[in-house]
Subunit: 205 residues, 2 copies
């Protein structure tokens, strides 16, 4: 699944390593201090580079956050497309999407916290960023819905543009609940099953 | 000039009118500048009061934001309970909830923007606030779900604690879409109908 990384690992130019080191450090620093209270110097220290080095790779703190989001999302999109491509059943595709979205929390808790909580604290991001990658991610969902409608499995009256946002919002809220709740009442598996069942029922004819 | 330092006996009790004036001013200032870029002095100017007056009513900027959220939510909860009380049908109650949540955007755009976008920019709010009022709001939804299950109208396997969050997340995302999109592709009525239909189908037996 994560073939991209392995494939490229030997060809990485030296600066690619630093770029990633800075991003990994930023995840830690943002998750610990919150986006607004984090300083470039803290990220530099965590990454083991000089403050000035950060600016060779990123314009500013907002830029780090946005790149963090975009690169992670890129990876998730690639993974998802590969997994979804293995089945022709839109119901199965939908299940894969929900599971992937929700289990990312468990695999990368700090990153999930940064994306769910801290990203919204970047005013620049919320107001000015043109969310191309995010749009691409949501469109996986609308393609699944459209395919389900074409195959006569999902209801014809559903508008993918609205439904995809509803589903994303629901999943995002579940992630927020986990990252902000010290001892969540519901385990991940229960949530994946409940949410999948609830939405599939809403989609199906 | 002599000033009486005996604050306890001479301090005027805070006036309801001023409290509201400050909150209304804060909505405008937060919506215009974003939470983090807003200053107490700007709120004071907008409200037509001295900077120091703000601190008679609120501890700090975060406190203003949280009180804004809590008081508006209180109003919405009262309204909702009154409307929901007029029907015995959990399906109708659910429709009322969705419509109320989504149409609040149209009635109070600035406030909706503040709640959806700016509230998440308050690190204090996201991490430390114990969302009692918010919990109360979500529990209206879980009561409707529970009632529907008891009456045999909604499916017995649904867990209200998970489903209420999914539904809230979906509605919140729709609101976010409206406040951040200059010319939304979908009108409010279409969204209310799509979302209600999609979720009711997921809930019903």
């Amino acid at each position: 699944m994560k073939t991209n990384k392995n494939k490229n690992s030997n060809k990485k130019p030296p600066q690619k390593g630093k770029h990633e080191k800075i991003l990994r450090a930023a995840i830690k620093v943002f998750a610990k201090n919150g986006f607004h209270n984090s300083k470039i110097s803290q990220i530099a220290k965590e990454a083991g580079v000089a403050d000035g080095t950060i600016y060779l790779y990123f314009k500013n703190k907002d830029d780090i956050l946005i790149r963090l989001f975009e690169e992670k999302l890129d990876e998730i999109i690639d993974d998802l497309n590969a997994q979804i491509g293995q089945t022709d059943d839109p119901r199965e595709k939908f299940k894969i999407f929900v599971r992937k979205h929700l289990t990312t929390v468990e695999k990368a808790r700090n990153l999930s916290e940064v994306i769910s909580v801290e990203l919204r604290q970047s005013h620049k991001f919320m107001k000015e960023y043109h969310p191309q990658k995010f749009g691409e991610y949501l469109n996986i969902l609308s393609r699944i819905i459209r395919e389900g409608k074409e195959k006569g499995i999902f209801r014809s009256g559903l508008m993918p543009g609205i439904i995809k946002r509803s589903i994303f919002g629901a999943l995002d809220e579940m992630v927020l609940y986990w990252v902000l709740t010290p001892n969540p009442k519901y385990d991940l598996e229960t949530c994946v099953n409940q949410v999948t069942d609830f939405f599939l029922r809403g989609l199906e004819k």
